[in-house]
């Protein structure tokens, strides 16, 4: 069995709870960047930036879902320590996508203005 599961230890450092909360905060940070991409797309009339903004909102929603999954995995009598397989690469990929959109929004305006 590769997935790491343990009996809930009653951790006074509340590490399971903090880990679930960290996912929630991260989803908010992605949502902020989704909003910025959407705004840049609307201001510049650039459809691709609007599309990426929508995609980033979806990623923020997916991160909320991961946060909910983690909250369930990390509460109760048995804790699942191993994170969902695609969660970490996925959130890193969403961040790279956000950086591409951000750089594009700056360069598009720089080129036309």
């Amino acid at each position: 069995m590769a997935v790491h599961r343990i009996d809930a230890p009653g951790d006074p450092g509340l590490q399971p709870e903090r880990t679930a909360l960290a996912w929630g905060r991260t989803s908010l940070a992605i949502a902020v960047n989704a909003l910025l991409s959407l705004r840049a797309g609307l201001v510049l009339g650039e459809g691709s930036l609007i599309a990426v903004g929508a995609l980033l909102f979806a990623a923020a929603g997916a991160t909320v879902a991961v946060a909910a999954v983690r909250r369930r995995q990390l509460s109760g009598a048995i804790l699942t320590i191993t994170p969902p397989r695609w969660a970490l690469p996925g959130v890193a990929a969403a961040t790279v996508l956000a950086t591409l959109a951000g750089i594009a929004s700056v360069l598009v305006e720089g080129g036309s203005g």
């Binding site: 590769a2 997935v3 790491h4 343990i6 230890p9 951790d11 450092g13 590490q15 399971p16 903090r18 880990t19 960290a22 996912w23 905060r25 991260t26 940070a29 992605i30 902020v32 960047n33 910025l36 705004r39 840049a40 201001v43 990390l74 804790l79 320590i81 191993t82 994170p83 397989r85 970490l88 690469p89 959130v91 890193a92 961040t95 790279v96 956000a98 950086t99 591409l100 951000g102 750089i103 929004s105 700056v106 360069l107 305006e109 720089g110």
Partner: protein, 117 residues
């Protein structure tokens, strides 16, 4: 679901270390997203600042660093996880010097821009 093969190696570390590593990854991701948002916000809203080229350079630079940090965040999480499974020393990375240098450079350039314009 099949796990990546490195998660079969060695021994499961103390669960607190695994969770701390996961939170560190997320903290780096949020740092990258914050740098990116800072650059884009500066470019979108600080429209009165001159020279405009400096703001474009800052915004693009912050975006590039954010992209690098998000990739480093993942590779660092993975290599730390593997090191802990084998009881090896944790690897050092480029993330902290890169972040410190970026912050210093951004602050310096912004200070000059604010003084000049």
């Amino acid at each position: 679901m099949r796990r990546p093969s490195w998660q079969e190696e060695g021994q499961d570390p103390d669960y607190r270390f695994t969770l701390a590593n996961e939170r560190t990854f997320l903290a780096w991701i949020r740092t990258a997203l914050a740098l990116l948002a800072g650059g884009v916000l500066l470019h979108q809203f600080a429209t009165g600042l001159q020279p405009r080229l400096a703001l474009v350079v800052i915004a693009v630079g912050l975006g590039v660093v954010a992209a690098a940090l998000s990739v480093i965040a993942y590779t660092r999480w993975r290599s730390t996880e593997i090191a802990m499974r084998h009881g090896r020393p944790l690897p050092y990375g480029w993330a902290l010097p890169v972040l410190a240098a970026t912050t210093l450079l951004t602050a310096a350039v912004l200070t000059i821009v604010l003084l000049v314009s």
